[in-house]
């Protein structure tokens, strides 16, 4: 593959990223299991990363790669904190439906 010619139009990558992001949004809104909601958030992170890396290639600018790297790091921190909260909720509550968890509701 010649480096300056993309075998696939870049719009396809962006469209794919949008579709995966859409799936993530759908997962967060529809599912009520906190673990699957966290996984849907990971899906959205990955969609954003795909868009960042696509633009980085289109503009030949490494800043997109750096930003995607930072997003991966933040996603790791988010997953750790989110899972810790899930563990606490599972420990204390009988029902883990996120609609029923209203202890902090005020």
């Amino acid at each position: 593959m010649s480096p300056s010619v993309f075998a696939v139009p870049m719009e396809n990558y962006i469209g794919l990223s949008a579709i995966v992001f859409f799936l993530g949004v759908l997962g967060v809104i529809v599912r009520r299991n906190p673990l699957i909601m966290l996984m849907s958030i990971e899906l959205m992170f990955n969609a954003a990363n795909l868009a960042l890396i696509t633009y980085a290639k289109a503009w030949v600018n490494a800043a997109g790669h750096i930003f995607a790297f930072l997003v991966i790091t933040v996603a790791a921190a988010e997953a750790a904190i989110g899972l810790a909260i899930v563990v606490i909720v599972f420990r204390r509550a009988v029902n883990v439906d996120v609609d029923e968890i209203a202890t902090l509701h005020g």
């Binding site: 949008a18 868009a51 899930v86």
Partner: protein
């Protein structure tokens, strides 16, 4: 070209499987396939370092964390005792909101030029080249150079963020009642070796 469509189908298929699976473990498997497909897509976009990081950090660390939590929580109790199925009720709003978000993303990206406009002259370090060559765009050397010179401050701030996250997780999930384990008086002999942890699920 064919590779892209195969990977795109795999990405969407595993994504759908992830959000529709009945049990969280199945979701994790779907997400694993999703991450692997995405890593290969990164390779086609000349992001070789990020492809490796995607496998190592996402599939290796984050998914294992998910699996650990699922295994931990499923051991003693009936963990996934969720309420009645509200899928029919929320499906329409979810689809509407998702479609609006999708339209916004497509509209926004359509306005940004995607034409290749390299900021670096061809032939110099950091210019586009075949994947795997040294000193081309996306190579590990180019990435590291950029990370540790131009973008050093974000890198350090991220390190701080990770440390805060670690402390937060230890505080949140480490101990139910830390006050109970505190030594009663200062100056006495050292606390004996820590008692065995209580089981996490009760």
């Amino acid at each position: 070209m064919i590779a892209f469509w195969v990977l795109a189908l795999a990405l969407i298929g595993t994504g759908v499987f992830t959000i529709t699976a009945k049990k969280p473990v199945y979701s994790v498997v779907g997400l694993l396939g999703n991450f692997v497909a995405l890593a290969i897509l990164y390779l086609t976009l000349q992001a070789e370092f990020l492809a490796v990081i995607q496998i190592v950090v996402y599939s290796g660390a984050i998914l294992i964390l998910f699996v650990f939590v699922i295994a931990l929580l499923s051991s003693g109790v009936q963990p996934f005792n969720v309420g009645p199925n509200r899928l029919p009720k929320v499906l329409l709003p979810a689809l509407v909101i998702g479609a609006v978000a999708l339209a916004a993303i497509v509209y926004g990206t359509a306005r940004v030029p995607l034409a290749a406009r390299p900021s670096i002259a061809a032939g110099s370090p950091g210019a586009l080249g075949a994947t795997g060559e040294a000193d081309v765009f996306g190579s590990v050397a180019n990435f590291g150079q950029s990370l540790f010179t131009t973008n050093l401050l974000p890198f350090e701030v991220t390190a701080l963020l990770l440390m805060v996250a670690v402390i937060g997780v230890v505080l949140l999930a480490g101990d139910d009642e830390p006050a109970r384990r505190r030594p009663k008086a200062r100056g006495t002999a050292r606390e004996p070796i820590a008692k065995p942890q209580e089981p996490l699920t009760r």
